[in-house]
Symmetry: C2
Amino acid sequence: MKQNIYDNPIFFNQYKALREKTYNYNGLLEQPTMKSLLPPLTNLQILDIGCGMGEFAQYCLEHHAKHVTALDVSSNMLAIAKQKHAHPHIDYQLQAIEDYEAPSNSFDCITSSLSLHYVQDFDKVISQIAQMLRPNGVFIFSVEHPIATARHTMEDNWIYDESHNRLHYAVDHYHEEGLRQQTWLVDGVVKYHRTIATMMNTLITHGLSIDKIVEPIPSKEAIQQLPSIEKELRRPSFLFIKVKK
Amino acid sequence: MKQNIYDNPIFFNQYKALREKTYNYNGLLEQPTMKSLLPPLTNLQILDIGCGMGEFAQYCLEHHAKHVTALDVSSNMLAIAKQKHAHPHIDYQLQAIEDYEAPSNSFDCITSSLSLHYVQDFDKVISQIAQMLRPNGVFIFSVEHPIATARHTMEDNWIYDESHNRLHYAVDHYHEEGLRQQTWLVDGVVKYHRTIATMMNTLITHGLSIDKIVEPIPSKEAIQQLPSIEKELRRPSFLFIKVKK
């Protein structure tokens, strides 16, 4: 069963409100990093896994991609995507990556922003991706950083003093891979923790070579716009991996 | 100035006592992992950086390596190495890797156990290593894990409750790379913290391709022999990276 928390109406409305804020982690940290890792997109066939509201698919076409196949498991998300970012060269599909089938060597570039930590069988999904990617193609994805997903807790991983100053970040259970239930906007959001070694070795095993790793830090401007983002310097929340076939 | 804490007599005697214990992290965790990552050693030319007391150099010859160049900055360590593990095909040299020079393509295999976190200029050292390594050669090293070196503190990174049970492990200052002064056996041991991204990208930039990552976990037997090592399951202390040229 693939998690589809984005079709939980309470979650979805809160998530939408978060994304509609002028300054958020997506706009200040995740998307700038993803875009910095992209190859020149001109004429590329792209697969975007977990496309959400379609902004990234639209961005790819604005940068001269030939076609974007954009998957998401949430009909809420896709309804917005189709309304706001419809385009004859974007094919939105209500589909989990685990169930998606495409011929070998279909894509020049596969991307996924903060969705693969929802996937239970990482090995299977990486195997599919490696097969769908063309030789010399690139696959770039971000996930919540294993430092952030490791600890089994329903609470915040930040530890505070009595005045609610952040003392440090708590890590635990690092080698217990698998399910984590977390409270993020609503209770019971399900994610999967995997170690850095597991992610890297899975990619390598499937014939993908590690090209770049990014643990993004906010720019000075981002910190001015959203001062709370400065805590990213204290521990990474996101991990980006770019690989080549 | 290259750190040479191993020639501090108080440190050295304590370190020696630790290593002479029947069960320690070196024997139960670090060395088994290093050995599991080695290629078949028959006829290889090996460079071991931070060879310490020479056990690993000796192991390589027992496994049919052709020759081992074994570097260490500590004359204390090398005195023991030359006494216990002297061999006509081991060349012990009192030398920091930063000052070591060898022709290009000199070695089939370069190893370093828990020494590169003492190196200030990682980029320079990786550049040297990439040059000294033969095409298709392998470089395998372990360092203290960035999760463990991140926090600026003279204290233990474990956070305890009142009964001295470990609550969780503390991470902080992850993106502040550079000097860390720690108390380990004596005060003021100097190490360098680097992020996972920095280490990986430095290797890739110098033409080395990531072959395997290991964040070692103790075996059941190791936990029986040294129960306190079970805490390695809660956060990794060591990071191994194996690359190929």
